[in-house]
């Protein structure tokens, strides 16, 4: 199959169409405007529907309606716009409706700026809206992965009847890379949604609602959601390790940060430093278990994020005090260079004397038993 050189935001749009999405509702905001611009034309070519709504609020509620009707549907935005969508995302979770939400993060808080940032990790992984719920969060680190994760997002949304967020940033959305697209999903092969509101013809009428006035009934609904989230955690947690086999220090980073980290690790490896990378590909569910297992052999972690320290809290919870967890981050849309990070890594590495023979004690080989 041939590769196509495409911008990330266009990749998100094209992959959505190939994954069977025929409905998109959105509102302009930089740096993701190329998503609605692309889909405004592309969806018409395949008999789909594009609506530029009056607000992010309206667009996510149009998504709710289209999802109730059983369609594969998507919206996208960037940080301030995703804040506005949180009401609808809470309802999607409560109503158990599948939907895909793209967030190409920018600097915040408030209006912030339009530069790439990872400032919405908390918002994405903690729910963001009101109520006791989880949103599945996928974090692509390349245009190819953005494509593949878009397909996966629609499948996960349908499988678990849950909103799925693709958490990129201005860098992922704007950069151009060659992408190989999988074959288009045949909509006829997708499982029938026997819960959709299609009109009560030949069956009793249906309701889709999240108002459960009896506390016991709502509690049961909450526990049902918890069982679903447990199933997602067991089956869908995804991560990548890179050069961790002999590592005495492991960088933990996602998305754009992980790309920068790979560049930095290449540089420090050339200096003889034994450094690896663990990259969460799902931010929720978070790869807590592999991180905890890693601490049996590696006692030094450096969490690197383009914010002031958000994922680092999940890393600390995962390793339960069994590793020294350091943090380096740059907020506000500043994108650190691999050299910046390499400097931080080597500072930490030498400071912890990981270069000395004694450093081997920090890698407890055979310590798994």
């Amino acid at each position: 199959m041939t590769k196509r050189l495409m911008r990330g935001n266009h990749v998100l749009g094209e992959a959505a169409v190939l994954a069977g999405c025929r409905y998109y509702f959105g509102y302009p905001i930089t740096p993701q405007n190329e998503v609605p611009e692309y889909l405004s034309g592309r969806l018409l070519d395949v008999g789909g529907t594009f609506v530029q709504a009056e607000s992010e609020l309206a667009s996510v509620n149009m998504v709710i309606g289209a999802s109730m009707a059983g369609a594969r549907v998507m919206t996208s935005s960037s940080s301030p716009g995703v804040s506005l969508k949180q009401e609808g995302i809470s309802y999607l979770a409560g109503l158990e409706l599948p939907a895909v939400i793209g967030n190409m993060m920018r600097g915040g808080p408030g209006l912030g700026n339009i530069a790439p940032s990872q400032s919405d990790y908390f918002q994405a992984t903690r729910g963001g809206g009101h109520g006791d719920y989880r949103c599945i969060v996928l974090a692509p680190a390349s245009c190819q992965e953005l494509c593949d994760m878009t397909f996966r997002a629609f499948d996960l949304a349908d499988k678990y009847r849950n909103p799925v967020m693709i958490l990129g940033d201005g860098m992922i959305g704007q950069m151009m890379e060659p992408v190989e697209f999988p074959a288009a999903v045949d909509l006829a092969t997708l499982p029938v949604k026997d819960w959709a509101l299609t009109g009560a013809k030949g069956r009793p009428s249906r309701t889709i609602l999240s108002l459960l006035l009896d506390p016991k009934v709502l509690e049961n609904h909450n526990y049902k959601l918890v069982r679903k989230y447990d199933a997602v955690t067991r089956s869908e947690t995804d991560w990548e390790t890179h050069l961790t086999e002999d590592a005495r220090l492991v960088v933990v980073a996602f998305g754009t940060s992980a790309r920068i980290a790979k560049g930095a690790i290449k540089r420090v490896r050339e200096m003889g430093l034994k450094v690896g990378l663990l990259r969460p590909k799902t931010l929720w569910p978070f790869p807590s278990q592999p991180l905890e297992e890693l601490t049996r052999v590696v006692r030094h972690l450096l969490v690197f994020e383009m914010n002031t320290g958000q994922m680092v809290e999940d890393v600390r919870m995962a390793v339960k005090g069994q590793a020294d967890v350091n943090f380096y981050g740059r907020p506000g849309g500043v994108v650190p260079t691999p050299e910046d990070l390499a400097h931080q890594i080597s500072h930490y590495y030498y400071g912890a004397h990981l270069d000395e023979d004694g450093g081997s004690k920090d890698r407890l080989v055979g310590g798994l038993s």
Partner: protein, 255 residues
């Protein structure tokens, strides 16, 4: 023997939870009757509001999907765009459609979404206990305007339906009431017409229904019905606000 009255097929056999003298029960009946008359029960999807009618899905025997407060017409847009052959209606109160959902309402009308909206105006936030609504009349007491609504402080009552008339996509807007048998018959006709407009694919249709809330108005049901005639309909006059359906011209030609 000729049957002259029955419970509409599109109503479930449940007892309404509404207060004595509340207009919702009557309006539910009229909507269900319209659905029956047009034979669209099997392809009808309703979107209930947040408000007293939030439990409307306990009464309408059609598919129902709950919207967040004020977003019913956005949810309806999503449903209709996926299923243009289905009949979508929203059922919304004044706070829902004319305060928190103003943007969704105006833009659904402006896009000419082919959906039917039933807008129940009782001038008060009923379910939350009688706070000021966008449609609360000047001087009218509410739990958040205990000494009466003062336009210079609280804004004047908002005539949303008039505002929708300037939207190019709205084709049929009428204000009716359910406080007397005569007005109920007129309301029945208007609601059915709002569905017909959708079936004919003409554009956005909305019927505003002035409805009694004796509980929060602190009146007897009879006094509440009279108050609509004497006071409320002076501020919100009954009648057709916009009609670009062409139905009357067609009927005129036929006769």
């Amino acid at each position: 023997m000729k049957q002259v009255f029955t419970v509409p097929k599109s109503l479930k056999p449940n007892v309404f939870h509404y207060c004595p003298g509340c207009g919702h029960s009557i309006i539910h009946r009229l909507v269900a009757q319209a659905i029956d008359d047009l034979g669209i029960q099997e392809r009808c999807i309703g979107v209930p509001p947040a408000g007293c009618a939030v439990l409307a899905y306990n009464y309408f025997d059609v598919d129902m999907g709950e919207a967040p407060h004020g977003r019913a017409l956005a949810v309806a847009t999503g449903l209709k765009r996926v299923m243009p052959d289905k009949v979508i209606f929203t059922y919304q109160g004044d706070g829902d459609i004319a305060a928190i959902g103003t943007a969704e309402t105006i833009h659904a009308a402006n896009r000419g979404e082919k959906v039917s909206a039933v807008f129940v105006n009782n001038g008060v936030y009923g379910m939350t206990g009688g706070q000021m609504a966008p449609t609360t009349l000047a001087g009218m007491a509410s739990t958040t305007t205990p000494s009466g609504r003062k336009p210079e402080r609280d804004g004047a009552p908002l005539d949303l339906t008039q505002m929708l008339a300037v939207a190019k996509g709205s084709v049929y807007l009428e204000r009716v009431a359910v406080n007397s048998p005569k007005n109920i018959m007129r309301a029945a006709k208007a609601i059915k017409k709002a569905f017909q407009v959708q079936l004919d694919g003409l554009g956005f249709a909305l019927v505003e229904v002035l409805s009694m809330c004796p509980t929060n108005w602190k009146m007897s049901p009879v006094a509440a019905a009279e108050w609509i005639d004497k006071t409320m309909s002076q501020v919100f006059p009954l009648g057709v606000i916009k009609d670009e359906t062409g139905y009357e011209a067609r009927e005129g030609k036929a006769s």
